[in-house]
Symmetry: C2
Subunit: 587 residues, 2 copies
């Protein structure tokens, strides 16, 4: 039908007859001559319909409106002098139309394409129109490019693409499952997978050796801005490997994929232990696009005559006094803003936010009176202060202080506007603790199949569960957790011990993942892997902050598809076939 995509028509085609097809992006009438910017997937080309050249084509052109679909045949010519458009690939030429066919008409657009201020509901209800914008098209081209790059990288490394079931049994990811009633087995349900975790481990027991999948996963969670009921993850598992082997694969994968998407990233990424990340950045996903690490000054504050500081400094195991240097802060921020910073950290449990200003003649500020000259000097030295800087302090229990000072670090960097755009700073966070205790209940920080670091602890002789390190690692990009993984437990006796430590009974374990435990009894190799959030990766590559932008047909935060009106009610007959009844009282 067409001979060229719009943007394939260039100066090389001058004097050729070409046929292009696409949408009317805009139409202008200049002194009786009609100019149409025709748009296809690649971009725009200008059509010219001059009644003096071709009356028929001009008459068709006169009747078209925005977003009509046209097929145009004509001769390519150079644009007149001064009429070139350097912003267009095709800006040096135009097509003098000899034949113009309206392939289809269009109603007027319900909103202006590309106007992001339009209510999101309207855009989602007409998602097929929003997808016409260059911004959307570019995102889905990027997503497709990343997808094939991931696959070719892993395929070249010998990984087998294996599909695991969507209709399956609950996986132990901890979130709520989506259920699917069975018609053949009334009263029974499948669950949609939260990840292929158990299946990929089974494939290792099967000797597949290297597995990958770009897998759909499902979580029926209360939705936050960056969550969707269904999402996509790059899922990888390999056998006879250690953490180093897995990290090497992940780094190559990320490097190759980002490179394919035109981004420059290194071939290996720095690492930080979980402990260091929490102490220095107050987060297990530190944003490394800027430095501003926190420094511990509890030893100096121990000498303070301020009773609160002194008392906090007495318990160095459980408390922290963190200093955060803000370069040039004394010049950047007003007193009012400083007060605002205190309000900010209070939201996250801070009792206050102390600070010193670094003046020409040393540290100033209300707190200086509690410190000796030597200690003030020690603070300057430890936090590497320069004239004009401000240094902030958070003091209190370790968890709270690290958390709010970590958040404050990010907040401050935003206020200072020092976070570089279009930069990709990766960091591995390693040596995660095996367990975390929340509301008195011990649970696995990753999942219960994560291998504890047996070189550093004896599972039969554990003092504090939280001291057990696991062989687990997260990859963090620009302060966002892109993914992570672990070496898994491949021996039944270790797995049983871990369940025991978590207070999971043999019975509960068998019921939840009996088939994995059974598989471990039949010659499981050592194995490990990782998963990367594909949607999130595309978000970061595309520089957008909404996951809905990178999903072709996304759901709202109320888990609805406004375009198709899913979910919706179904016939009673359908429910009857499934042996189900809706509890009306609860609707």
């Amino acid at each position: 039908m067409r001979t060229h995509y719009c943007t394939e028509v260039t100066e090389k085609n001058i004097d050729e007859i070409v046929t292009v097809a696409g949408w009317v992006n805009s139409r202008r009438d200049h002194g009786g001559i009609i100019f149409i910017d025709l748009r296809d997937r690649g971009g725009l080309v200008q059509l010219v319909c001059d009644p003096a050249d071709n009356k028929d084509a001009w008459e068709v052109a006169d009747s078209v409106r925005d977003e009509f679909v046209l097929i145009a045949t004509g001769k390519v010519r150079a644009r007149g002098e001064g009429l070139e458009n350097p912003n267009l690939i095709t800006g040096k030429i135009e097509i003098v139309v000899e034949k113009l066919v309206i392939e289809n008409k269009s109603k007027p657009m319900p909103f202006e394409l590309g106007d992001e201020k339009v209510n999101e509901e309207i855009r989602l209800r007409n998602r097929f129109l929003e997808l016409r914008t260059k911004r959307s098209l570019d995102i889905f081209k990027l997503r497709s490019t990343a997808n094939i790059a991931v696959r070719n990288c892993l395929n070249d490394l010998g990984f087998l693409d294996v599909e695991t079931p969507i209709l399956t049994k609950s996986t132990p990811e901890g979130a709520r499952d989506y259920l699917v009633p069975s018609r053949v087995h009334p009263g029974e349900f499948y669950a949609l997978p939260q990840s292929p975790q158990l299946f990929k481990q089974l494939l290792m027991v099967s000797g597949f050796d290297k597995y990958f999948q770009i897998a759909k996963c499902f979580r029926d969670e209360d939705l936050r801005a960056d969550r969707q009921p269904e999402f996509t993850q790059i899922d990888v598992e390999m056998s006879f490997c250690n953490q180093e082997d897995v990290i090497k694969v992940a780094e190559k994968l990320i490097h190759d994929t980002f490179t394919a998407c035109g981004k420059n990233v290194p071939t290996t990424f720095p690492r930080i232990t979980y402990k260091d990340a929490m102490e220095k950045y107050g987060s297990d996903k530190p944003d490394m696009r800027f430095d501003m690490a926190m420094v511990d000054v509890i030893d100096i504050f121990a000498n303070s005559t301020n009773e609160i500081f002194a008392s906090i400094a007495q318990d160095k195991k459980n408390n922290r006094i963190k200093a955060l240097r803000c370069p040039n802060g004394d010049n950047l921020f007003s007193k009012r803003q400083m007060k605002g910073f205190e309000d900010y950290v209070r939201k996250f449990g801070a009792k206050g936010l102390g600070y010193f200003q670094m003046k020409e003649d040393g540290l100033k500020g209300p707190l200086t009176k509690f410190f000796s000259e030597e200690d003030l000097e020690a603070i300057v030295k430890t936090t590497e202060l320069e004239v004009g800087d401000v240094v902030f302090f958070g003091a209190g229990d370790k968890k709270t202080v690290c958390d709010y000072m970590g958040r404050f670090r990010l907040y401050l960097a935003e206020q200072m506007d020092i976070i570089p755009a279009d930069t990709y700073e990766f960091i591995w966070v390693v040596d995660f603790p095996m367990f975390e205790t929340e509301d008195g209940k011990t649970k696995a920080l990753h999942h219960p199949f994560t291998m504890p670091n047996l070189e550093k602890c004896d599972l039969n002789n554990v003092e504090d569960l939280e001291d057990i390190e696991s062989i687990a690692y997260d990859i963090v990009l620009n302060g966002t957790e892109l993914g992570g993984g672990s070496i898994r437990i491949h021996k039944e006796e270790i797995q049983e011990k871990v369940f025991e430590l978590m207070g999971i009974s043999q019975e509960e374990a068998n019921e939840k993942f009996g088939f994995l435990l059974e598989a471990l009894r039949y010659g499981a190799p050592s194995h490990g892997g990782f998963a990367l959030g594909f949607d999130r990766m595309i978000m970061l590559l595309a520089g957008t902050d909404s996951i809905r932008d990178v999903i072709a047909f996304p759901k709202t935060q109320r888990a609805q598809c406004l375009l198709t009106q899913a979910p919706s009610e179904v016939d009673n007959d359908q429910l009857k076939e499934l042996a189900l009844r809706v509890r009306k009282t609860e609707i």
Copy 2:
């Protein structure tokens, strides 16, 4: 951990120290020396543990059993003369073990790996063990190879890989949907997609131009041997195209994929119209690995003195008398077998099965008496009989005769053992009718978005709905429908007309696919595409006849996963959250 995969160790490594890892495939003790065949994904390598060489390694070797996981380090040496094994890639060498570590133990296998006579239930319950067999591993390597080949082919052709939703609304494929209750919207349900049909058409309206996806699809059907509740299809759609464009893409895709899997197939495939396929092969998926086309002899039989034949021959529009030549049949089959053939066709509605034998002196058989010499000669000529052949006849109404004679053709070919193995014969079936009438109800043969062939008919002036041809095409491989597609309706007025002809009200149409109809109003380009059954393609490539062989974790014909025990009962709390109650009476 390892330096080589088992099968990477060859004569080139003689005298090198290597480390391999894998499973004990077998273990033999020859005069105190232990030989272990170690297996990994690639295959086997022989380990030798001689107590005279290394007592420690020998002692470990002495304790291992089948399917234990080992890591072995040792020096490669040539096998002794006469001890080479030409069946193994590594058959010329062995590894003299210096260090042997048991990575994991194994219980005895619950069944002999690779024994296909073992009850399928036991194999499926232990699917992770069955997947260890060479046969399974080879299938999943093939599947992974085909998968990446498909993607690279389509990516190179400019198709964008776009993921469409799994949690969506009913699609109009006609089978039963799997439903997913919504927790956020009690009493409402998502449906799992039977195909991405509507979404891929929407993407064309969005101007994506070329889309593909290897998509999971779901149908809650009563399961036949070759069906699964979830299956995978290669899904393709393109804009501004005609049937020729689409067929070209499909042919290149199939050619590239089969080539990547080591199969020789042509770059274009022959075509047959639906009408011809039905008349000649009695099927819209003719097996072209052998010829044996049916020939119509109704004109000759019209002269017969047999009343039944003569009366059937009076209605040439609705009746058929089909001749099927069986080369050398007179020598191949006994009278008893011929009787068996009649019993076979009777199962499919035949009243009988006439035949002639071609002897040296002309046609013989009980029916000859009803025909003149000239007519007998005409039969010989029309059906191209040679001495020793048998020719069978089916007579009656068109649909019944074509159906049972088509089945008989396949049955006969199997009895004659003339279907060549490892041959791939493709054929396009084109010019499908738009509608079919079943039980008095008109329905779309493909789906209601298929474009009627407007060059051949006027929708406003239709005499017989079944005469309307659609621009739809199926690709058939070895008598199996591999997939198909169509050019879609892109204009609202045609779509409305088609619904009208099908007796679908505006209201019903709007409720079912209102969003697609709405999209057609906003500048839809002409478009079309196809879908190929990926599981089925792998079945044919792997030469297996069970779809369960090519799915890593398949379900039974009762839609159960015997490994994970899905589906299963769920907590009442979960149901309560979903505002559902199980109707106990119906279980």
